[in-house]
């Protein structure tokens, strides 16, 4: 997805309306009515719910203002664990997906591999990143679950029944492996345009100035790519943090993740404190906002350089 929020050239738009017969000021006032559907939509479905989450986070069960809900999060070990697990999975899949994704994207865009492989990888990444959710979870159950292909293969090769000897995948490590399936393609898709922007002439200029490959990468290549790689990794982090369906389908509600907790809270007040649920949701929004903001800021820098 092209979240490269490039600066849009609205300079032509500043000149105002198409030639209309009516006087300027009269027309201007009512234009916003055209936006009414969107305004209502945005308010009712996005802004108000988000605001309500924020407000209710500070609401005590009796109805007054309190910051206890926030404090409560830090007191309950199960919730702290949930945050810890979510953070671990998000960081792990962001880093592994980031590095591996970068390598694949680089291999595919650099020209070392044939052009058809590039098209195939990009298309496949589009598909794989859409495959997330229940089907993906099951695919991995069929692969690394107790009767999964890999599981049976390892048992067969090692002669040991690994399942009986502690083969556990329904934890954050197994789930990380599953998440990689949509993290990796996301990295490839987001990073490929940035890699394309790495002009061949820069390498050639560095060569004619006497530089070796190492000089080029250290002084030019990596500095230029860093914002894009960093930004994409941050996006991956946020992506994993907000995932629900895949986790739920893979390990049920036994796996302690923030999204799972919120999901459970929706279905019944398992926390025995509605304000707490809101506080959790608020925490999620904050983390995702930071992630998105970091991503957009870094991608803007990257775009500026690889224009």
């Amino acid at each position: 997805m092209s979240l490269l929020a490039k600066k849009v050239d609205t300079s032509r738009a500043k000149t105002g309306d198409a030639p209309e017969a009516r006087p300027f000021s009269n027309r201007r006032n009512w234009d916003w009515l055209g936006m009414l559907p969107f305004i209502l939509y945005g308010l009712l479905l996005l802004i108000l719910p988000s605001v309500s989450i924020v407000i209710r986070s500070f609401e005590s069960p009796e109805g007054g203002f309190t910051i206890n809900n926030i404090i409560e999060i830090f007191r309950r070990t199960d919730l702290l664990n949930a945050y810890k697990n979510s953070l671990i999975i998000s960081l792990l899949t962001a880093l592994v997906g980031g590095i591996w994704g970068f390598l694949i994207a680089y291999a595919v865009t650099s020209g070392a591999l044939p052009g058809r492989i590039r098209n195939f990888v990009l298309t496949f990444s589009g598909v794989a990143s859409n495959f997330a959710g229940v089907p993906l979870a099951f695919a991995f159950i069929a692969t690394i679950g107790n009767t999964g292909l890999i599981t049976r293969g390892v048992s067969y090769l090692s002669g040991v029944n690994v399942v009986q000897h502690g083969w556990k995948v329904y934890n954050i490590w197994g789930l990380s492996l599953v998440y990689l399936y949509f993290q990796l393609p996301l990295m490839i898709l987001v990073l490929s345009p940035a890699l394309d922007g790495l002009k061949r002439e820069w390498r050639e200029a560095s060569d004619t100035l006497g530089g070796t490959g190492w000089h080029y990468w250290r002084n030019v290549g990596i500095p230029i790519l860093l914002p894009a790689v960093l930004g994409s990794t941050i996006l991956l982090f946020g992506n994993a943090f907000g995932a629900y369906a895949t986790a739920f389908a893979f390990a049920g509600s036994s796996l302690n993740l923030i999204t799972i907790v919120i999901g459970a809270q929706i279905q019944g007040d398992v926390l025995f404190n509605p304000g707490l649920g809101n506080a959790l949701a608020l925490g999620m929004i904050l983390i995702m906002s930071l992630s998105l903001y970091g991503y957009m800021y870094l991608m803007r820098t990257a775009a500026r350089w690889t224009r």
């Binding site: 092209s2 609205t10 390598l103 070392a112 069929a142 490959g213 907000g242 369906a245």
Partner: protein
């Protein structure tokens, strides 16, 4: 790029390792789906799936959700994007901000907030939660980033103002301009957005399950919990379906740059 043997080898290694990672689960699923009958490979699991009336009901529901979502998205976002381009370009930052909110508020949290707000809304005997309105509304929200941006990019590419001015000079009315000039040029963007929205809604699980509505995603989850071999068949069917959709998206958007979008769950 300097291509020496070592780096080329490394690139192939990286690529192949990625391919192995991606194809192993697919193969495992496929293999699993063929083993319904104890002693031989067969397509029995697939037959079971296609025999199950629930499959059709749930898929049907998802189709309905998709179609309605797509219609609403197309109308709402095309109109908004067009109006913004034409009349209110200075609103762009705000509108773009809103269009990015779904990334900041993941499905779980969104549903959380929406249910809180609207669960007690009822007019007479009409209870909001008893209707799929909230479901569709959430899908519209989830599809917004892709649909809106697709149309926005398309509008930018065709320079709406100039076309509108040209139309006005030639004597066309506003609706004539919209339907005879603007929309046909947006065909690619609309199709692109359409298929991406379809892909999102058809496989969606989180929202449907938390709101308690039938959907294809919910059905697959049910199969995972209750059945052994059918979920494998369903996973593969789901994957193939996604593949077809992406092929269509690629084909439709083949002239336009940068239109290969993706949908996160």
């Amino acid at each position: 790029m300097k291509k020496n043997k070592a780096s080329v080898f490394f690139m192939w290694f990286v690529f192949i390792s990625g391919m192995i990672y991606f194809f192993l689960p697919l193969y495992a699923t496929f293999d699993f789906s063929l083993r319904m009958l104890k002693d031989r490979l067969s397509l029995e699991a697939y037959k079971e799936v296609f025999k199950d009336p629930n499959f059709y009901t749930n898929f049907g529901y998802s189709m309905v959700w998709s179609v309605v979502t797509i219609l609403i998205c197309m109308l709402l976002f095309t109109w908004t994007a067009y109006w913004m381009h034409l009349k209110m370009p200075h609103w762009r930052p705000y509108i773009e901000f809103v269009s990015l909110l779904p990334f900041v508020v993941p499905a779980v949290v969104l549903i959380f907030g929406l249910i809180r707000m609207y669960s007690r809304v009822s007019v007479g005997s009409f209870n909001l939660l008893g209707t799929p309105i909230l479901l569709i509304a959430t899908y519209v929200v989830m599809a917004m980033p892709y649909m809106f941006r697709s149309v926005d990019a398309g509008l930018r590419a065709i320079d709406v103002r100039t076309l509108t001015e040209a139309g006005q000079c030639l004597g066309a009315s506003r609706s004539q301009i919209l339907f005879q000039i603007i929309f046909p040029n947006l065909r690619v963007s609309l199709l692109n957005g359409l298929f991406l929205t379809f892909a999102i809604v058809i496989g969606e699980y989180t929202v449907a399950s938390l709101l308690g509505w039938p959907s294809f995603g919910v059905y697959i989850r049910y199969a995972v919990a209750m059945k052994a071999y059918e979920p494998a068949a369903l996973s593969l069917i789901s994957f193939l379906m996604t593949w077809v959709i992406m092929m269509i998206v690629q084909y439709v958007g083949r002239g336009s740059p940068g239109q290969t979008q993706i949908a996160t769950h």
